[in-house]
Every structure is written in structure tokens, then in C-alpha cells.
């Protein structure tokens, strides 16, 4: 049994996020001015702080709006790595592998996303305590690594996925883009608004369909991390 790790975040930044409490029930965090401790399922606390710092550089909170931090990207990645994705459950993982395969054949290595993150994070010890310039320089150094490639892509996923996956908190990602999320019908609008922005208020799958937890929301729960 690994030691329990928690990420302490401000509840405000998690606004409408559905999170799991310790007894496994889903609850909605909306309290202002509080901090909450969320149990991590893959990362250690210091790993989570490193990921938060790196994701905040990849997609910053800046004058163009909220970023990876407000979207809860770190929690999203933590949940993904604890589930089938992190374990490569749906990838073909029989040998022989080849780390030097030509790029047009896709990733041919053995390490799973969990292993790639662990190894990548081991080289970033103390990253979250460095100043911004130093952090940026380090990210530039690792830009070509598989770890950075995954981190960058997972950050995009955590920003723009449906919030049922624990990212895109408060729909900040969709609000930034002007993407309304799933909509039952655009039939009356599709031939209007030619050349002008049509921006319906974003709504999550749960809000649109009225379903509490779509069946696949539970899919990622099977891989509780023990590392």
C-alpha cells in the first residue's frame, strides 16, 4: 500500500468540478475561498506540483484568459494515469519493441504512459520551486522527449475534455475556445450566423443529457494506483 498523497488546491479554482471524495462518492466543489485536499491516485504530492507547474507553462493563465491550472489539468492527468490509458490497456504491447523505429510507424517503445511519466518526473525534481525562466529553459531542453510529448497532449486533453473526465473544470477550456460542448440540436442555427460568431453557452454532457454518470465515466476507475 502506498502512502496516501493529496493535492491541495483552492476550491474556487475547481468551481464546478466533480470530484471523488475519499469514500468514492462524487460531489461538486463550489465553495469559495477554501482549500480542499484531493486524494491523488497516481502522482505523489510533489509530482503533482511539478505537473501543475509544467502544465501552467504549456497553457498559461495569462492576459488571454484562464489556463491549465483553472481547468484542473493535473487531476485529469492523475486520473488518466491511474486508469486504462496509463496502463496501456488498449495498446498492442507484445515484443519485440524498437525505440528507434521510423516515426511513420508510431511509438514502438515498451514503457507505458505511467512509466514514461515516472521517469520524466524523476528528472524534474524540485522543478516547481524554480523560477519561471529556469522552468521554461528546462521545458525547452526536454521538448523532444516522449514524456513532454505526452504531457503536452494530456494537457490539451485535460483542458478540452468533457468535465466528466475531471478536466475542463467549470468548462473553462470550452469557454476559452467558444466551443459549446455537446448540443442536442443545431438544426435551427446551422444556416444562420454565416460569417458571424454564434456562441451558445457551453454545457457539459451531464447537463445536456441529464444523466448523472454516463457509463464510461466509471471506466477509468479500475486502475487504482499502487506504485
Amino acid at each position: 500500500m502506498r502512502r496516501r498523497h493529496f493535492l491541495t488546491v483552492s476550491a474556487a479554482s475547481l468551481g464546478g468540478l466533480l470530484i471523488e471524495s475519499l469514500d468514492g462518492t462524487l460531489s461538486r466543489l463550489a465553495a469559495q475561498g477554501q482549500t480542499v485536499r484531493i486524494r491523488l491516485r497516481f502522482f505523489t504530492e510533489s509530482e503533482a506540483l511539478i505537473i501543475s507547474a509544467a502544465a501552467a507553462l504549456i497553457f498559461p493563465s495569462d492576459d488571454s484568459g484562464s489556463g491549465a491550472h483553472e481547468a484542473g489539468v493535473t487531476l485529469y492527468i492523475d486520473r488518466q494515469l491511474a486508469g486504462p490509458y496509463g496502463h496501456d490497456r488498449h495498446r498492442y504491447t507484445r515484443p519485440p519493441f524498437d525505440d528507434n523505429a521510423p516515426a511513420e510507424f508510431g511509438y514502438q517503445g515498451q514503457p507505458t504512459p505511467r512509466e514514461i511519466y515516472r521517469e520524466g518526473l524523476a528528472k524534474l525534481r524540485g522543478f516547481h520551486r524554480l523560477n519561471r525562466e529556469h522552468q521554461e529553459a528546462i521545458l525547452h531542453q526536454i521538448e523532444a522527449t516522449r514524456f513532454f510529448h505526452l504531457l503536452r497532449h494530456n494537457t490539451i486533453e485535460g483542458l478540452f475534455c468533457d468535465p466528466l473526465h475531471a478536466g475542463n473544470a467549470n468548462l473553462v477550456g470550452w469557454q476559452l475556445l467558444g466551443f459549446p460542448g455537446p448540443r442536442m440540436s443545431n438544426a435551427d442555427d446551422i444556416e444562420k450566423h454565416y460569417g458571424e460568431p454564434f456562441r451558445p453557452k457551453p454545457a457539459s454532457l451531464q447537463e445536456v443529457t441529464g444523466t448523472k454518470t454516463p457509463p464510461h465515466a466509471t471506466e477509468d476507475k479500475d486502475g487504482e494506483a499502487q506504485s
Binding site: D62, G65, T93, G173, L177, M184
Partner: protein
Amino acid sequence: MKTLPHADVVIVGAGWTGLLMAKELAAKTSLNIVVLERGSAHSPTEYATGMDELAYAIRFRMMQDLSQDTVTIRHYPKDRAYPMRQYGAFLPGTGVGGAGEHWSGVFPRFLPDVFELHSRTVDKYGQSRLPEGHSIQDWGVTYDELEPYYTRAENLLGISGKAGNLRGTKIPGGNIFEGWRSAEYPTPPTKVPYFSELFRQAAAQLGYHPYPVPAATLSQLYTNPDGITRPACTYCGFCETFGCMIGAKSQPTNTLLPILTKHKSFSLRTNAQVRRILHDSSQNKSKIRGVTYTDFSGQEFFQPADLVFLASWTLNNTRLLLLSKLGEPYDPTTGRGTVGRNLTHQVMLNAATAFFDQPLNRFMGSGASGFMFNDLDGDVFDHSNIPFLRGGAFLGRSARSLPIGEADTLPKSVTATWGSEWKKAVLHYYDRAGKITFIGDHLAYKANYMDLDPTYKDHWGDPLLRLTIDWCDNERHMSAFAAQKAVELARAMGAKEINPSAALTRYDASRYQSSHIQGGAIQGASPETSVVNPYLQHWQAPNLFVLGASSFPQNAAANPTPTILAQTLRAADAVAQRYLKSPSLLA
């Protein structure tokens, strides 16, 4: 291995072809029909709550589980092949409905000369114009023979569109280059997204003949000849890689299954991984005894049958023939053998990505709503001064603007890949980018083929299928031409920046292109050069039919499903009307 009670008919695969054959035979005969599907059933609520990009479009929830079974790919016969460890160039579906559940629903017929490609090309240009190393051949069936079946398929699915050639009369606004049609489309064209309207105007301005994309996403409520009623599309934008939440997109589960489940003679077994076709063979004659499969728990079964249909998609059809040692495997060095030859993968490109000043509201659309034109397709245009044969269609659709997948669709002037500058570009361009699609012919070549991999195995211990495929000069020149024409279109549409697609070089197994992968069990007029006859009946084993695009001798510049369905209907008629009366080779 447990031997099950005998079945009259066994169909391997519950996608478009398998369930369509089952429906036809259930309606026309009293045979008992068993359909074996390797995947699971989809629940009706799954699609209603499935508008989830991460689960369906990024993690590929509806696709074959690659941890169990995949293919290996290499460029040349002497290269080492690599397994497709994660999804790339194409997306094989699984489960009831197969890839027909998560398709876009683009439904064009092939041009008439596609079916006689070898003879028409030689007649017009001479043998010398055929590319080096080609293995192009005629289909053994003509457009005129297939026309009634195309019409039946369109009526079955309720295709929305506008005819351009009704019994030889050309109709402006439709596709004036299409083959003759005996009937107008059953439903009118779909609504038009803004980007598609820009495409239509630009295409017309440049002298092309744009017409509404024929769409299996219904423009209005429709009841098909079987009495199946489906609603009009709501343009939610979740088509490709998704099942339709309301059934407006025609899918095997909403168009065929409701009819099939009324027949007591029909049964469907899911999680049944078919492993071998069993046969008694001597000389060049085989009689199929049935198939073996492994169920979810690992138990093995023998399902005896009088008549077997392989309907398990291009790649698995070919693999089952190879694993079952049915027919002679193709050998590219000697040219002998037929099983596995003429592997093709359609030339599908985002020929140009156009970036605009104004937003496009691209979240509204369907996989098939938009405009396309065929002025640069097939032999419609003059090829005397261009360095390639054939061509393709250009499409301006508004599909797939989902944010995870499109976040990195940025003009080449944006060089940052992370940080504030990149973020600003992502936010700015997300709804200002549109893609002009090119879908082109892939000719068949002697060196592009399939066999069994000597190294890699699947979950059940069987060798994976190995694809040997690379582009040749015809496709490379065609792709460069397509990018140039698409840039002209994007400019005429008012794009401020344009990313043309790079010309094809090597076959890129990591880049999604289309799932229009074809060949391996091709049809033809002679058993020397084909696996099945023009009725899709195995030359050696008359009680076996191999359905689907595995039969296409080469890849035409249009989505394959209409032709797949038309050929399945034609085969079903031949089986019901002739084969069952006298089970032998159809002529």
C-alpha cells in the same frame, strides 16, 4: 472444442455487409442464420450519452482493441514490419454494427469507368501509360449491372442528395459527372454549414461543378422500404468515431437490426472471435464445413454450416483466408497466388487547411453535410499533360471540429508549440480553420499486398496480418496536384492563411487517413487473378462468399460503403435466386 448444432448459414461479422446479407436472406428464405461478431453489442443509451470526444475520438472507444489484435505494417517486401501498436492510418471498428456505426456517412457512387479501369485506361491511353509495377484489373462487374443495387442501397439508408444524371439527363446542381441513375435520391440534400457554403461559392467561381455531398445523415424524417423510420439530423457534429445519438445517421443497428430481430431464423452471437474456416480440400476444390471461434471465456466452438459469408472487413477477411489456408497466398516475387494481393489505401488528404478572419461556427454540422465536386476525378479531366492517372473528389465539409483533436490546427506562421503565444493562437484559430478534403484513387501495385506476420501474434496466439504498402509516383504526383488545387480553392474562399498538405512520400502508418483500406480477396473474371468471382463467391469454395471492400481490385476516389452495400445486395440476390436452387459456382 465443442461442436454446435448445424446452421444453414454462418456470417462472420455483424457490420454493414454481414447484417445486410442476413437481412436479405432472412426476408427471402427460411434458412436459419447465425451471425458471429467478435465485439459486443452497443446499448441504445450509449450513443445518447456518448458525445464525449475523449472517450470516442481520442481513446477510440468503438474501435478494435489493439491489445488483443492488430496488424503489422512495412513499406517494402524486404523491410521489417512494425505492429500498429496504437491507432494511426485507419480505424477498424468492432462490435455490432462494426465501422458502420461510427462512419461519417458520405455516400457517393463510384464513377462508371472504375469497374473497367484496366480496359478503359488501355483503350484510351495504351498499355504504356499504366504505371510500372501495377496490378490494375477490371472488376468483372459493370456500373450498369450495379446501378439497380446502388439505388436499392440509397433507398434503404435514405440517402440525402441531389441527382446530376437521371437516366442520362444532366441536371445542374447535381453531380453531372456521375453515372446514370435510375432514381433521384430518396431525401433532399442536407443543410449547409457556413464553411461548406464558402466552398460551394469558390468551387463554382473557379468553374467546377459543386453538388451536395450525398449523405447517410438524413435531411428529413424518412421511412425506408422495410418500414424503418429514422429522424432528421440535428447537425450536432458528433458523427465520425461516434454512434448517432438519435439514429439520423444510418447505421447497421438502426437500419438493419430492427428488421432482423423480428426473424426467428436469425441469431447473433457477440464476443465470438472467429479463428478458422474449416474446409475439405482436394486439388483446386474446397467445401467449407463451418467455422471455429473462441468466446469471451476462452472456450472454443465449431459451428458447422452449409453456407458461410466472410463479412469481417477488408483486413480480417483476408487474414481468415490466410489462417485457414484457403486458396494460394500471393507471392510478390513470382506473382503467383491470389490471397492478399492488391492491397490499397485510398489517397485521403486534408489537401488544404484554410484559416479565416471570421469565425466559422464549425461545431455545427454532420459528417456528410457540405459540398463536393468531381471535375478533377477519374478520367473526367484531360490527363495528357499531367504525370499521373485518375484523380479525386474535393470536399468542403464542416465535420469534426472537436477541440482536443483540433487544438493544434494552426497556420504554419505559428511556430510556438507551447506557452502564451501558442495558447493565443489555439484560442484564435480554433473556430477559424476549415479543411478541404481530397479523396483520390489508389492504384494497385504488385508490391502492395498482405500476408501473415512471422513474428507478432494476437491474443489467441495466431499470427497478425502483415501489410506491405507504400505510395508510388502516381499517388505522389496526384497528392501534389490536389494540394495545389485546394490552395486555389482556399484562396477563392477568402482564406487569409493556407496550409497545403505535403505531397505524399512514404506511406505514413501513424497519420490517420481514412478507413478505406481495400483488396486482399479481390474479385475478377478469372481464378488466376482473383479470389472471388463477380458475385463475391470464392472461386475454389462455392459455399463461401467474401463480402466487403476486400473484393475491390483497386481503390476508387470515393467512399466505399455505397459500392460495398450494392455488391452485397447483388450477391444476396444471386444466392437467393440461383445459388440455393443449385449450390455451385455462379456464372
